[in-house]
């Protein structure tokens, strides 16, 4: 594929690797039976284990393992023997003062994700770990450094996560956004996570570094906790430019963790990486290894739904035209099966995809039957409905589930026949002889401008019932006659 548009100054490039944490859609936490739910009274969902009380022990959630392996297989990873490890560090959101994660032996390794644009992003690993509690800083406007004290709620502590680590394969913020959007659609399709970025059930950290073309990559910085695709894109672009400014000025980039401030549109230092970052990982002695059998992996594979990339390929094959954007949207909205069936039933692919892209971005769109969509498009193709009428009819189909022909009839969208249209067009031409002469003899630019004028008059005269496409074709035919 062609070089990504980076928006960076000439001669500079950036490289991006992403770490995505997503909460697994389980009923209970990773190592205890406390509910995995959001928005409860503080510390309501706690027990000896997730509070780290002395003597408590973890017992792994079978469902969490299943979901983690499922996401691994959906990302074409090797699912392998894995071992939990303790990551030791002091912070009050960490009830045991270590986090149980996977270190040198993660459950999933060496996968990839194919993006709609054709880019393949390598997946380094996707491992299982537990979430931390939540700190609220009181006083000082909630800012950590001005707070009078802080409060800890451990409801989220121990919630199961998978952390999906990509290779540094992305070269622009657009690619990063595309990766996250695609990953999100896979998480949703597989039922692994509800992947709500705004609610924090999917959190993205971006590692960004830059270089002058031909030189080695510079020191990378990590931007933490990006909670929307928009923030992700803006933060990456800002960070790359910040690093370039530093290097241009002869400074060096310091390895650090940064945060993105959406309001100011800047990244700021969160934490400088220190030698003291010594997590003293060692195998978690309270848990035993996970060893999925070949049979387990076959079972997981068999249960996987058709993934977005395959769905896009199927729909694009049926549509047969360069419709990458519309196909991707259809899959994203889970309307690709509808589109595919309507096309198979004989509906014009371009019109089907147009409806999916523009007229079916609504609640209830999934309930539309392929037969109804096909019938509607065919009425449109035959000139029985104008584009505007088709849109209105489709909205009614979504709302009522009724047959489109019946709806069109009830709305009085009796087709304006070809003869009636021609009579109407002739009338408009006759009423505007000067404009018609200019249209007939003018260049393309003039023609384009006057098409709008005549179409306006035609629509006015027909009270919107004329088929714009057919009317335009008629005008052009008459002009060259």
């Amino acid at each position: 594929m062609s070089a990504a548009a980076t928006g960076l100054p000439e001669g500079w490039g950036m490289v991006i690797g992403l770490e995505v944490h997503c909460e697994l859609a389980t009923e209970t936490k990773l190592f205890c039976c406390c509910p995995n739910s959001f928005g409860d009274q503080p510390n309501a969902n706690t027990c000896p284990t997730c509070l780290g009380l002395p003597g408590s022990l973890p017992v792994l959630n079978e469902r969490a393992v299943e979901l983690a392996m499922r996401v691994g297989r959906a990302l074409a990873c090797d699912v392998r023997r894995s071992v939990f490890a303790r990551k030791n560090y002091f912070y009050p959101d960490q009830p045991k003062v270590y986090q149980v994660s996977q270190y040198d032996l993660p459950t999933n390794e060496h996968g990839h994700l194919d993006l709609p644009s054709g880019l393949r992003v390598g997946i380094t690993r996707a491992h299982i770990e537990e979430d931390t509690g939540k700190l609220t800083h009181v006083g000082g406007g909630g800012r950590i450094h001005d707070a009078s004290h802080s409060l800890v709620d451990y409801n989220r502590a121990g919630v199961p996560l998978v952390e999906i680590v990509s290779e540094a394969d992305m070269r622009s913020s657009d690619q990063a956004r595309e990766y996250v959007a695609e990953l999100r659609s896979i998480l949703l399709a597989t039922g692994v996570s509800d992947a709500k970025m705004e609610e924090g059930s999917m959190r993205v950290d971006a590692n960004v570094s830059v270089h002058r073309e031909g030189e080695p990559w510079g020191t990378r910085c990590e931007i933490k906790n990006l909670n929307s695709l928009r923030s992700l894109g803006r933060a990456i672009d800002h960070e790359a430019l910040r690093q370039i400014d530093l290097l241009d000025a002869g400074d060096t980039v310091r390895q650090e963790t940064r945060h993105w401030d959406e309001a100011s549109g800047r990244t700021g230092t969160l934490r400088v990486k220190e030698d003291a970052d010594d997590y003293r990982y060692f195998p978690e002695p309270d848990l035993v290894p996970l060893e999925p059998s070949a049979e387990d992996i076959r079972r997981i594979d068999a249960a996987l739904p058709v993934l977005p990339a395959a769905r896009r390929a199927a729909l694009a094959g049926a549509a047969g035209a360069p419709t990458i954007g519309a196909v991707a949207i259809a899959v994203e909205r889970d309307l690709d099966t509808l589109a595919l069936e309507a096309i198979t039933a004989g509906a014009d692919p371009a019109r089907v995809l147009t409806h999916v892209e523009h007229n079916l971005a609504v609640e209830g769109a999934q309930r539309v039957s392929a037969a109804h969509l096909a019938a509607l498009v065919q009425m449109e193709t035959r000139g029985e409905l104008t584009a505007t009428q088709a849109k209105a009819t489709l909205a009614e189909v979504v709302a009522t589930g009724d047959d489109p022909a019946a709806i069109a009839k009830a709305k009085g969208y009796e087709a304006m026949g070809a003869d009636a249209l021609e009579t109407l067009v002739d009338g408009v031409i006759a009423a505007h002889p000067g404009e018609w002469e200019q249209f007939r003899t003018g260049d393309d630019k003039a023609k384009g401008k006057l098409t709008g004028f005549f179409m306006g008059k035609v629509m006015q005269a027909s009270k919107g019932q004329a088929d714009g496409k057919a009317a335009t074709a008629l005008l052009r035919a008459k002009a060259s006659a």
């Binding site: 995995n36 706690t46 027990c47």
Partner: protein
């Protein structure tokens, strides 16, 4: 110490008598600064006197462990669990532990159903 080839024979030849006579703490390579660094990692505030005491004690224990450190065990797998189990898990069924009040009542400081702590300087790693 093993003669380099790591074979069982070499290992056996290298073994010293059990519980060799112990003649008290000796200084080993561990420095006082290293001990102070480890204390910071472990969040212990050692006094100067404690540092003076701990440094030779820890050095002596590590020196005793030098025989293990020196073994060539490249081909020996680690044992993290003496009794090998795998795939131990539980069903994903929620249960209310019902201990919230008992725990919060005993917390060193609590507010609004949460554990209250002094200001936290710095973000989590």
């Amino acid at each position: 110490m093993p003669a380099g080839d790591g074979s069982e024979a070499a290992l056996l030849a290298a073994r010293r008598p059990l519980a060799r006579p112990y003649d008290g703490p000796r200084m080993a390579s561990l420095s006082r600064d290293e001990v102070a660094h480890v204390a910071r990692l472990a969040r212990l505030q050692l006094s100067e006197e404690q540092l003076d005491t701990f440094t030779p004690q820890l050095a002596a224990i590590l020196e005793h462990a030098a025989d293990v450190e020196a073994l060539d065990l490249a081909d020996v797998p680690a044992t993290s669990h003496p009794y090998p189990l795998k795939n131990v898990w539980r069903p994903d069924v929620p249960r209310d532990a019902g201990i919230r009040e008992a725990v919060l009542d005993q917390a060193p400081d609590a507010e609004a159903g949460m554990f209250r702590v002094p200001p936290v300087l710095g973000e989590a790693p």
